[in-house]
Symmetry: C2
Subunit: 297 residues, 2 copies
């Protein structure tokens, strides 16, 4: 039971009152598996995890854990608060998730290496080390707190049974490569399906990607056919030309015909008309329009 | 009931298990009032609010609300999650706090003005506008999300009864001045007691300061005597020469003789030996050593 391959950073559908629409979330995760994803990363950045309370996140974890094979499930458990992160990480273990994806604490900035290491150690101590399946979540642009390679290496040396890997959302393939080379046996996941076409793709365990919410079928087929992978990457590039998370939600609304998918938690907001026009024009140059039948079933 | 003057951003004492030491917190807040503070900002950045769960923050709010006059109490209620921030803000109203200090949501970055405004409006709508006493908390260095003056002006125009003011921790006195001039009747609090010596001090409602945990008595006397205020500012400058929050906790341990004050939530960590030497040397040049009797009572 080790997460590998194509992992979708699932978007989170909302009800009109800004609560998580659990039924639609479960159906979306099941569809992503049916479309060829090897795994689901529930409640990551794309899933707007940090915009929800612990209770809301717990309810989503419980709903999806009942409906999707657990060996395919990773869940974001990071929080600014140590107690919250420990509680969510414990629940991921209790429910049997294959991985818990841990942001660094993301309010204070200019954190020292020792402070960051102490935080991860305190998290493991608070949750209890036994049976933890942790992945670190490196996204310095949003968290403001990078996971330096040497800090990760020290933690991996201390907790080889608990620390299984890292998601690299820095967009810096050099960091992903350095991390993978520094810690053999530690699974590194870049955040884009373009990583599969990288000359060093063999160093990585797969990808954990936002755009796979839309491109899953192309990326799954693209593992065997570089031309099809390129079609998926072209759609990703179009989506990333406007704010990415609202773009994913716009595309899911568009492909499914379910307008509730456009709902998003503030401070993010739905694409405006200019952005929709720009995105539509960019997607028109790709194979995007062939995907709709897969989402209307 | 309007907060004014010298407001201490109270540090939060911890038990050995990293929970909030409620008895010591209450005693510390009471001492700050006795030393001349006009108000207490509970659970701000100095108070490590975001490092605690909602339940931990609620318990601290309830304990202090019973022990300190409510018209002197402000409390940080910001959180990455809208639901958490709304719940804490509602509790501040229910308990009768004179103010709730609201960080912007601080995980996502590159937030648009419209997204930020929509978040504050959603917070007010979720908590219910009636009886809210909100202060915005501008600390872009940590939150990564500034409150632009024009966004604040729009919100103040829409919610003049709910939005009472803003704490400016940017360190940019130009921002504080622009904010105060743009919105007459809206209370702006710079984050340092040095603001009282500013040529535009009359524009401000007071200060909300971390170092007042240590310098309260000097700043209180300093409102009438610039030479004494300068002594307080000199101590602040010494504390700010090393990581400020651990420095405040070190000084409280040193002044009270209670070593438990050095405890701090990861990812922050206690001052190391080099930092303590540097801070000690800097404080030796100030009136710091005369303060100890006030903390031993």
């Amino acid at each position: 039971m080790r997460l590998k391959g194509i992992i979708a950073a699932a978007a989170t559908p909302l009800r009109a009152d800004r609560s998580i629409d659990l039924d639609r979330l479960v159906a979306h995760c099941q569809r992503l598996v049916a479309l060829g994803c090897d795994g689901i990363n529930l409640l990551g950045t794309t899933g707007e995890a940090t915009s929800f309370s612990v209770a809301q996140r717990e309810a989503a974890m419980r709903a999806v854990a009942k409906a999707v094979p657990l060996q395919k499930l990773m869940v974001g458990t990071g929080a600014a608060s140590l107690a919250d992160a420990a509680r969510l990480t414990s629940l991921a273990r209790e429910l049997g998730f294959a991985g818990a994806l841990l942001l660094p604490p993301f309010y204070y900035k200019g954190i020292t290496d020792d402070g960051l290491q102490a935080y991860v150690e305190a998290l493991i101590e608070t949750a209890g080390a036994e049976g933890l399946r942790l992945y670190l979540y490196h996204y310095p642009l949003l968290s403001g707190v990078p996971y330096p390679v040497e800090v990760v290496a020290r933690l991996f040396a201390k907790y080889p049974a608990q620390l299984l890997g890292l998601k690299d959302s820095s967009g810096d393939m050099g960091y992903a490569e350095a991390m993978a080379r520094r810690c053999p046996g530690f699974d590194v996941f870049p955040s884009t399906e373009a990583g599969f076409a990288s000359p060093v793709a063999g160093l990585f365990a797969g990808c954990i990607s936002a755009s796979v919410n839309v491109t899953a079928s192309l990326v799954a087929e693209g593992r065997k056919d570089p031309a099809v992978l390129a079609q998926g990457v072209a759609i990703r590039n179009a989506l990333a030309g406007v704010p990415l998370i609202p773009a994913i939600k716009w595309a899911l609304a568009d492909l499914t015909g379910d307008e509730t998918w456009r709902r998003i938690m503030p401070p993010l907001h739905p694409l405006n008309e200019d952005e929709i026009r720009k995105l539509g024009a960019a997607l028109h140059e790709t194979r995007y329009e062939t995907l709709a039948p897969l989402f209307r079933r």
